[in-house]
């Protein structure tokens, strides 16, 4: 649905994007993650036809973003990272304005606006001036606006920034709803774990280059090559540590009070061998649990944290 080939965008000397390659399949929720200044917003602006790349091409549903701007604009709903609102419009008027701008027939406008208001839970604010809304409400209004022309592709630049936890959860629910409706969604964030529940695929960008693209499972695998288990035994802690350290598959054994952390060599994922070794040595094993590498750790491992 979205294809980006060798996309480069330079601001003077600084390359905000350098030869970015990216593909997003139809119906996917794609989490686009990167630290500040990585080039997320730049990529999304190019996809939304607002910015001309220095070189490279981008396609949405097969249409070149550069040459077929108007077709692309009908397909895409873009929500900018910072949204301006008109001072003098009310919520309903604001949405109706964009309905008209997207060429929706006058007869259908009211129904469609009511529909998106309901979807974003804004009906009660229908007659409120747009600039009187709180940050979270404005964010929701932004989502409502994006949905007004029923686009196939949604490009959302940090839709959850500035929202309280409840609003974040609500937005997540809304996105799930939209996914069910079959939309392709590209959503950016700094925080990987925030997208964990909703996105199928993630792409991690840094310095304008994609450092990872794939499913969450693949990400875990790639970042968490060294898997860990946590072991609890009743007594004989020292003996257990000694035994485990001797195993060739195990890289590191580390004890903290009752708990022994075992780190395997890369590629070795043999929980069984730990249990077997301990049981054979007559050590009472209480618990053995794989320690999940947190997504944010994966993110930190993949990016170098250099800011330009």
């Amino acid at each position: 649905m979205i294809r980006i080939n060798a996309l480069t965008k330079k601001y003077g000397e600084l390359a905000a994007l350098s030869n970015l390659e990216l593909t997003i399949n139809a119906g996917d929720v794609f989490g686009f993650i990167g630290p500040n200044g990585a080039g997320k917003t730049t990529t999304m602006r190019i996809l939304a036809t607002l910015l001309t790349p220095t070189s490279g091409r981008a396609f949405i549903d097969g249409h070149d973003v550069l040459t077929h701007g108007r077709t692309v604009r009908r397909l895409v709903g873009y929500m900018p990272d910072f949204m301006g609102v008109y001072d003098d419009l009310k919520v309903f008027e604001y949405l109706e304005f964009f309905a008209a701008a997207f060429g929706i027939e006058p007869r259908k406008r009211k129904g469609i606006v009511e529909g998106v208001l309901e979807l974003t839970d804004l009906q009660s604010k229908k007659a409120a001036p747009v600039d009187s809304l709180s940050r979270g409400m404005q964010q929701r209004l932004g989502l409502a606006r994006v949905l007004i022309h029923d686009p196939k592709v949604l490009i959302l630049d940090e839709p959850a920034s500035g929202l309280d936890p409840r609003a974040r959860i609500e937005i997540r629910g809304l996105l799930r709803e939209l996914k069910k409706m079959g939309k392709t969604i590209m959503i950016s964030s700094h925080i990987l774990s925030e997208l964990e529940e909703i996105s199928d695929h993630v792409g991690i960008i840094e310095h304008g280059q994609l450092v990872f693209s794939g499913t969450l499972a693949q990400l875990r695998q790639r970042a968490g090559q060294q898997s860990k288990v946590r072991v609890r035994v009743v007594q004989d802690h020292d003996k257990a540590v000694e035994l485990l350290s001797a195993l060739p598959q195990i890289a590191d054994v580390h004890r903290e009070g009752e708990i022994i952390s075992v780190t395997f060599h890369p590629g070795q994922d043999a929980d069984g061998i730990v249990a077997r070794t301990l049981v054979r040595a007559d050590i009472d094993l209480i618990a053995l649990e794989p320690e999940q590498l947190k997504l944010d750790d994966a993110f930190l491992q993949l990016t170098r944290g250099l800011v330009h």
Binding site: R45, A48, T49, L50, L51, R70, R73, R74, V76, Y78, P80, F82, M83, G84, V85, Y86, D87, D88, L89, K90, F92, E93, E96, F97, F98, A99, A100, A101, F102, G103, P106, R109, K110, S124, K125, K126, A127, A128, P129, D131, S132, L133, S134, R145
Partner: protein, 599 residues
């Protein structure tokens, strides 16, 4: 000794008086490229101007025998030219520079933050004022060496230069105070700019004009009018000072002609008062902003505005969209928004005053003279074109400023369609002004004060004026990021070809080009048409109802083109105007999608 120096430094440290704002302003302004551009442009234009005056006054008469007398004559004329150039030019610079001063802080929501620091409101106002004035003074100082060199030729007395500089300075300070005063409660810097221009034009132009008319009508002694005006009107006082310098008579401190000192005193007093009120209001505006409400006009629309937490806000106030979306949205911001009682009273007063003035002019038979029709029509033309330019110059930049522009550009509206919507919306918003003009023309031709031939030419002129104003405004709006800058450029462009260029050409002595430029100006055109068609004389000569071309004298620079000739000329100018407007349109369209994101 060191203690003395520290004491001196303590008392004379400017920061002690102006606070960190002044410091910050200077720092920021030295970083802004546009300040250097401004300074360079100002100096270049001034040098060009001086050169033209020089060429005019000296080289023409170089063969004459009395070289000394000639040089001193040239010296006087050059000095006058520089003095007037600075007086007018710096006021323009002052208004455009000061109109953004407090707005910038309000818009970027830093004013509220500033007030959480121990900085006082006075320090904010004075800091802003002084930092901008300092730049203005720097521009003013640029001319001092030139003036000193010219003095070598002799001719002009120092006390004239001192008087002229003092008047210029106090006027600049006054203009600055007016801008600051307006900018505290006004929402957008381009509105401040427009409002300041209107206030200054009314204060220095329209009110003196009314005084002159009233004095003339009541047969009051001219001396009193002159005295009143010399105290409160810098243009008049500078003219008087210039006169007495040219035709002798001292204007020094001791002489009886030191009226300019009184003038400066009065202006400074008024300025101080304005600044005081501004200081008192800065805090209110900032507090309102901190409370989360957007700062609006004091006269503004507080009531009737649904509050944030009114669950089921009044749905009947929602207005449904009709027609083209962009046009509809432009019209949501009407020319005059009458919400509060204050605004109703103001509007009623203005309308009553206009009605009374019209009634009085008819009662006094003034309308039988063409000069009053010329006056009314030219004022309507200027007001209409100015307002249209303001609206058009803001049309694109205000969306860039509020960052609503990108989300409009991702709709499938075509670029041409967006501009078309902006054009139609802007024109329709300022329709009321043109309506007044239309009613004036129609009613007075119906009752036999204006020849109906006017109804052939004036619509064409108005159309040209509107199209020119709206497209030139949009063109500069598309080129700029900030509305205030777009407005300044739009106004400068028009002032440039309508006034400055003819003036320069006049000095350089090329009369054909001047005549063409002036004839192309819709405001001048309306003057010519009104002169030809209005007043009892033009109507009584010949039975015009059957042959409207009979007896009308269209005076285009001493040449009577007649009805048909004038029509043809106006059609020609319309074609030129349409070509120019196409160029504006194309520039606007190509730049529409630029400058979307600030750096």
């Amino acid at each position: 000794m060191p203690t003395l120096i520290t004491t001196l430094r303590f008392w004379f440290d400017p920061l002690r008086w102006t606070g960190p704002i002044f410091d910050k302003e200077l720092r920021v302004s030295s970083r802004r490229r546009r300040n250097y551009v401004l300074r360079t442009a100002y100096v270049l234009v001034m040098l060009l101007f001086i050169w033209l005056v020089w060429v005019e006054t000296v080289s023409d008469r170089v063969s004459s025998a009395n070289v000394i007398a000639q040089m001193s004559r040239a010296g006087i004329e050059l000095t006058m030219a520089i003095v007037w150039f600075q007086f007018v030019g710096l006021q323009l610079v002052a208004v455009s520079m000061l109109s953004t001063a407090i707005r910038d802080e309000l818009a970027s929501k830093t004013l509220g933050v500033l007030l959480t620091t121990p900085i006082s409101s006075l320090q904010i106002v004075i800091g802003k004022l002084l930092s901008k004035l300092l730049q203005l003074f720097a521009l003013l100082a640029l001319s001092l060496p030139v003036l000193a060199i010219i003095r070598v030729f002799g001719g002009v007395r120092w006390d004239y230069i001192i008087a002229a500089l003092s008047i210029t300075l106090t006027t600049l300070v006054f203009d600055a105070a007016v801008c600051l005063f307006i900018s505290v409660t006004n929402r957008k810097s381009y509105q401040v700019l427009a409002a300041a221009v209107v206030v200054l034009v009314v204060l220095f132009g329209l009110i003196p004009l009314m005084i002159v008319i009233i004095w003339d009508d009541l047969n009051l002694p001219w001396v009193t009018a002159e005295i009143i005006l010399s105290y409160v009107n810098p243009f008049v006082v500078l003219g008087m000072v210039t006169d007495s310098a040219l035709y002798g008579g001292g204007i020094g401190f001791g002489s009886s002609n030191s009226f300019w000192l009184t003038h400066c005193g009065i202006m400074l007093g008024v300025t101080a008062l304005l600044l005081l009120v501004t200081t008192l209001r800065v805090r209110k505006a900032a507090l309102r902003q901190m409370a989360g409400e957007p700062a609006r006009s004091l006269l503004g629309r507080r009531k009737g505005r649904p509050t944030i937490d009114s669950e089921h806000a009044d749905e009947s106030r929602i207005r449904r969209l009709k027609g083209k979306p962009i046009v509809w949205k432009e019209l949501r911001e009407p020319l005059v928004r009458v919400r509060s009682l204050w605004q109703k009273i103001m509007l009623t007063l203005i309308l009553l005053f206009m009605a009374a003035f019209y009634g009085y002019t008819v009662y006094r038979h003034w309308m039988e003279e063409e000069v009053f029709h010329i006056l009314f029509v030219v004022i309507y033309m200027i007001a209409g074109m100015f307002a249209t330019m303001v609206g058009a110059a803001a049309a694109i930049t205000k969306e860039r400023e509020t960052r609503s522009w990108p989300i409009l550009l991702i709709t499938p509206l075509t670029d041409g369609g967006i501009i078309y919507g902006k054009v139609v919306g802007t024109i329709r918003r300022y329709m009321p002004i043109w309506l007044f003009l239309g009613v004036h023309l129609m009613v007075f031709s119906l009752f036999g004060y204006i020849n109906p031939a006017v109804l052939v030419h004036m619509p064409l002129i108005i159309l040209n004026g509107v199209i020119y104003a709206v497209l030139s405004g949009l063109c500069f709006s598309s080129l700029c990021r900030k509305t205030a800058l777009a407005l300044v450029l739009t106004l400068l462009f028009s002032l440039g070809w309508m006034i400055f260029l003819p003036m320069m050409l006049g000095i350089a002595g090329s009369s054909d080009a001047i005549e063409l430029l002036i004839s192309a100006n819709p405001i001048m055109q309306s003057g010519v048409i009104m002169e030809a068609t209005s007043g009892k004389y033009n109507i009584s000569s010949g039975n015009y109802y059957y042959d409207i071309s009979q007896g009308l004298k269209y005076d285009w620079f001493g040449e009577n083109l007649g009805f048909v000739g004038t029509t043809l000329a106006l059609v020609g100018f319309t074609v030129l105007n349409l070509i120019l407007s196409m160029v504006f349109f194309i520039i606007a369209r190509t730049n529409l999608r630029n400058k979307l994101f600030s750096k």
